[in-house]
């Protein structure tokens, strides 16, 4: 019983830190990562399909490095190493450095999602379009991409959910997300288990609700196909 009353006490006293600051920053960071990631990821997917070998090589290297190293390590580099190389970054609050790293990380994954989404469209569709005399560009824009989007959007939703969980790593730098709230409240109350429970429930609620929304949306999209 003491456990529950402790939780109630924490929520009464520090609820805003979890619900407003924590969730707010977590969602904001995730949204920035996914939106920025989608933008740069699309460009990278384009670069990966380009005829210029060097461009393809660079992008492939970025994707492989980002996917092959831990997110935490990338955050350390973004927060501590980049300011050494680029001095103006020195005065940047950690949350900005973290957002940049999250965008780069997300771009790599999103570019793969987009690439495989495009490649999953039956090559016969492109052949048919080209055989009618349409240009590569027109065929891509009016035939391939609309079909690829149906493959891409659900996977992009999953990426959003993954990113929500991964943003917890920025708490290493006290950047202000939900996990940072946990660290702060735990620090003043010494009630580790209670704080962990609150944080866990909140993360689960976030991702669960989001995945339900995505499912419903996916279903409505399929119905219109």
């Amino acid at each position: 019983m003491e456990f529950l009353s402790n939780i109630a006490m924490i929520m009464a006293k520090y609820g805003h830190l979890f619900l407003i600051t924590g969730i707010g920053y977590t969602l904001l960071l995730s949204a920035i990562a996914v939106v920025g990631g989608s933008f740069f990821g699309s460009l990278m997917a384009l670069a990966k399909r380009s005829k210029i070998g060097v461009l393809r090589g660079i992008v492939t290297a970025i994707v492989e490095v980002v996917r092959g190293t831990p997110m935490l390590l990338q955050l350390y580099i973004g927060v501590f190493v980049f300011p050494l190389i680029i001095p103006p970054l020195n005065n940047l609050p950690y949350i900005y450095s973290c957002a940049i790293v999250l965008i780069i990380n997300s771009s790599a994954y999103v570019s793969e999602i987009i690439r495989s989404g495009i490649e999953a469209v039956d090559p016969g569709q492109m052949e048919a379009a080209r055989s009618l005399g349409l240009t590569q560009r027109t065929a891509m824009l009016s035939i391939i991409l609309p079909q690829a989007v149906k493959n891409i959007l659900p996977a992009l939703g999953n990426e959003f959910i993954t990113v929500i969980k991964e943003t917890s790593l920025v708490s290493t730098f006290f950047a202000g997300d939900l996990m940072t709230s946990y660290l702060k409240v735990k620090g003043v109350t010494y009630l580790t288990l209670e704080c962990l429970t609150i944080t866990g429930v909140l993360y689960f609620a976030l991702t669960f609700i989001l995945s339900k929304i995505l499912k419903a949306w996916e279903r409505s999209m399929k119905a219109h196909a």
Binding site: G124, A128, A129, R130, S131, L132, G133, A225
Partner: protein, 321 residues
């Protein structure tokens, strides 16, 4: 009308076509038969450059669609450094050309530099004088695929009108750029294309399917829509790549009947097919492909009733028709 000159096609080490030449005349119906893997589909796909030939040229109505193949132009070979070197050694003209062709001695095949400026200038001249934009060439060739390849994200009517409208709009833009007076709008083009699509759909009795998506159609219906989609571009030649191979048996008839209709109306056609009875009935000329070359060629009577090539005889004895 459609000239295929000495086409080679390699997929890596796999040599699928090994020098195929033929000419399709206006109004002619050519069928290509042969076992699986003999290169007949690849040959058809080389005709509208869905596969780019490794060597050889494709000419559509007197216009070059592929890069220039120097081996097909003696004057180009004579302009090459390789030829000049051989001539300097005292080799005769015919012998030198033969040696270069057989031993594939020209270093830069399509964009000559290693063969000297005279060679590259001549290559460029031939190309500039004869080539046609590949998309323009393809607009004159309708293609029908084994797997229909209807656009899944478009309705039946949109499938038929998409290309004519997009290409029409592009032409209007180009005309405007050249400063010509443009009377039509995109809406006019769409209206025209819609009207034509409905006429074509009526021809195959599917007008009530105009606004449904292809996934709701049967295989036979899809293939018939694919055929009229190609016809909507008003092509000069139709290429059929095993149009009935992916169909349930009971649907083969309706598709073959439509092709027969088309052929009877005088449409120049090239048909790759396994339907021997059909080939015999509609063709003006039949080609039997074997191992990447034309092994037998002639009228349906010659090929089906009096085949000379032993491979062709064996093939025909194995297939029922």
């Amino acid at each position: 009308m459609l000239d295929i000159k000495n086409i080679y096609k390699n997929f890596g080490d796999n040599h699928v076509l090994k020098g195929v030449s033929t000419t399709i005349e206006k109004g002619e119906v050519l069928t290509i038969i042969g076992v699986s893997g003999s290169g007949k589909s690849t040959l058809l796909r080389c005709m509208n450059l869905l596969e780019e030939p490794t060597f050889g040229e494709v000419w559509m109505e007197g216009k070059l669609m592929t890069p220039v193949d120097p081996y097909l132009h003696f004057d180009v070979i004579r302009a090459s450094n390789t030829y000049k070197a051989l001539a300097a050694q005292g080799m005769g003209d015919e012998e030198a050309i033969h040696k270069i062709k057989v031993e594939d001695l020209l270093k830069e095949k399509h964009h000559g530099r290693a063969e000297g400026s005279e060679f590259s200038a001549l290559m460029k001249k031939i190309y500039d004088e004869n080539h046609i934009d590949i998309n323009l060439g393809r607009q004159k060739m309708g293609m029908v695929f084994q797997n229909f390849n209807l656009f899944n994200n478009k309705t039946v009517k949109e499938n038929i009108t998409l290309a004519p409208v997009k290409i029409g709009v592009q032409r209007l833009k180009d005309a405007k750029k050249r400063g010509e007076a443009v009377m039509k709008t995109k809406a006019d083009l769409q209206a025209e294309a819609d009207k034509k699509a409905m006429v074509l759909l009526e021809r195959i009795g599917l007008q009530e399917k105009a606004d449904v998506y292809p996934s709701t159609l049967s295989g036979g219906q899809r293939q018939r829509v694919a055929i009229i989609r190609a016809l909507a571009m008003e092509p000069d030649v139709m290429l059929f790549d095993e149009p009935t191979s992916a169909l349930d048996p009971e649907m083969v008839g309706e598709v073959l009947d439509l092709i027969k209709d088309l052929v009877k109306s005088g449409m120049t056609s090239v048909i790759v097919t396994h339907e021997m009875g059909f080939a015999k009935e509609v063709s003006d000329r039949v080609i039997f492909m074997h191992d990447g070359v034309i092994a037998e060629e002639g009228t349906p009577d010659e090929v089906f009733n009096h085949p000379q090539n032993p491979r062709c005889r064996e093939f025909l004895s194995k297939v029922l028709y």
